[in-house]
């Protein structure tokens, strides 16, 4: 069985899959990848069943395999290289036995993902390999660990990633507490230009803006109630905080609404200072925009292309024979 060896990395590396459903009544939130689209990208690129991916917040590390193994690099584009040769992000690369894969800082966005072919086969906890260190489920990676991977070699391909790394317009739906915000406050929230604040982690991100806070009626005296991923909470001073994958299950702060799943990756991946605006949509509209993960993966698969060398380095593209759109040879692909 192939192993991935984490030579160094962190401080924010963790194993993630799509999370665990069915434990909400026990106070355990779904968790999983901060950017599930990145796992869809990896699934589309690698095909076949997936174990966990290595999620890298802001910065990667140095990785090695004890057998030659393909890896997909997805999510936020990070500087990646093997022995000084740069690797294209959003693609599958073959890492030779013993070679060191170096992944540096994110060029845009926050969360990058490394997925060996077949995934990382760490132990499942309550039906998932997702680590939720804030809840005491598994622990973050600090360097020196090694994990079994299914491994193997296959098609070296790439895809065009959906750009979700620079903020933008975030759509949200109203919820059980939206009516606690008066019309003027609600309108001002939709008109305000926010920036991703430096404070943020897998539990949520704070938003910065100029002006007074967005206060709700009865801000501090409500019975604690359910909270969910994507909820836009107004903390004590009326500053918005958007909940992400590892958020708690019950909370007491009022919430103006919930970001739709399609736009959550844009929140998670917004780099510090990235501009964010919010627009309320109806649940019916949100339903039209909903794409289940399996459909997302199928759509991405249709846009997979062979991983070819940088066109600037290729003198005659037509001389390349592309069989069935896949390249599985031993060419020295970047």
């Amino acid at each position: 069985m192939t192993q991935i060896i984490i030579q160094s990395g962190g401080p924010h590396l963790s194993l993630q899959d799509f999370g665990r459903l069915g434990h909400f009544a026990s106070g355990i939130s779904v968790g999983g990848a901060a950017d599930p689209l990145a796992l869809c990208e990896a699934a589309a690129l690698l095909e076949g069943a997936l174990g966990a991916s290595l999620e890298m917040a802001g910065h990667g590390g140095r990785f090695r395999f004890d057998e030659t193994c393909d890896v997909a690099l997805t999510g936020a584009p990070m500087r990646a290289s093997v022995e000084g040769k740069p690797l294209l992000w959003g693609a599958v690369h073959r890492i030779e036995k013993g070679a060191v894969l170096e992944i540096g800082a994110a060029e845009r966005g926050v969360y990058g993902y490394l997925t060996p072919r077949g995934g990382i086969l760490s132990d499942e906890i309550l039906g998932s390999r997702s680590v939720q260190s804030s809840a005491g489920i598994g622990s973050a990676i600090t360097g020196g660990e090694s994990f079994r991977v299914r491994g193997g070699a296959g098609a070296l391909v790439k895809l065009r990633q959906q750009d979700r790394f620079s903020g933008g317009l975030i759509r949200f739906v109203r919820g059980s507490q939206s009516h606690l915000f008066d019309g003027a406050t609600f309108a001002r929230f939709e008109e305000t230009g926010f920036k991703r604040d430096p404070r943020g982690n897998r539990q949520g991100v704070a938003l910065a803006f100029d002006g007074i806070g967005f206060a709700a009626e009865g801000q501090l005296s409500r019975v604690s109630d359910f909270i969910t991923v994507g909820d836009i909470q107004m903390t004590g001073d009326g500053r918005p905080y958007v909940l992400l994958a590892d958020c708690q299950t019950i909370g007491g702060y009022p919430r103006i609404g919930t970001v739709i799943p399609a736009d959550l990756p844009k929140i998670a991946q917004a780099g510090v200072g990235a501009p964010l605006r919010f627009a309320a949509i109806s649940l019916e509209e949100a339903d039209r925009l909903y794409v289940p993960h399996d459909k997302e993966i199928q759509a991405m698969k249709r846009n997979i292309e062979p991983l070819v060398r940088d066109p600037h380095e290729i003198t005659d593209l037509l001389a390349y024979q592309l069989i069935d759109g896949m390249i599985t040879g031993d060419e020295e692909w970047l």
């Binding site: 106070g27 355990i28 906890i125 919820g175 359910f226 708690q248 299950t249 909370g251 919930t258």
Partner: protein, 242 residues
Amino acid sequence: MVEQRPQDAHIRIYPLGTDGYVLRVSDSLTEAANATAIALAKVIAPLEGVIEAAPSLTSVFVRFDPVKVARAAFVAMLEEKVRDFEAPDDRAQRRWTIPVCFDASAAPQLAEVADITGLGQEALIGELCAARLSVLALGFAPGQPYLGILPEAWDIPRQTSLTEAVPQGAITVAVRQIVLFANRSATGWRQIGQTGFRPFDLGRAAPVALTAGDEVRFVPIGRGEFDGLLSDPMGGARLETL
């Protein structure tokens, strides 16, 4: 539009996110509202298209699979289930007896809470240990219980500023409830004791010990006994089936 349900309904239905609904029994915490929420969650969980249903203090969260069931049909089904729903007169089926240390070293805010409630420390501990507490909900952290409902005198607000950290096993109080912390955590609740009982332990066959509706009683122990129980993830807690 399904975003606003009629406000005169017995149990109100609100969307939570794009794949969930909150069925709100009441805006204020009462034993009856909590019992109704716990019973309703059991009725909702097996319904077609439901991924999971969970009770909180006074409401039920239900997550559905929009691929399996259309929203409008799902909401219609929820409306039918909550209409005239009455909780059966369920009694707790399990009773936990959990040792708690109230020594000053394990109860940094006991004196403060004794002052605010006007009960005095001895009476406070006596009242807490005499109370037949119920697991009102699990939440915030894995397996972490909200316990209650304590007498009126215990209706003290959360602190306006957070305590930087209470330890794992902290027994904390606010708004007539106790939270037994599963993990070290920042909180606005005041710590009046500590237990070695771990409500969540991945080393156990069933990592989550408690279930909403369980009865809980605290028994006071000294510092020495508490220290001795720290190596036991159950912290000396006993479970009886009623």
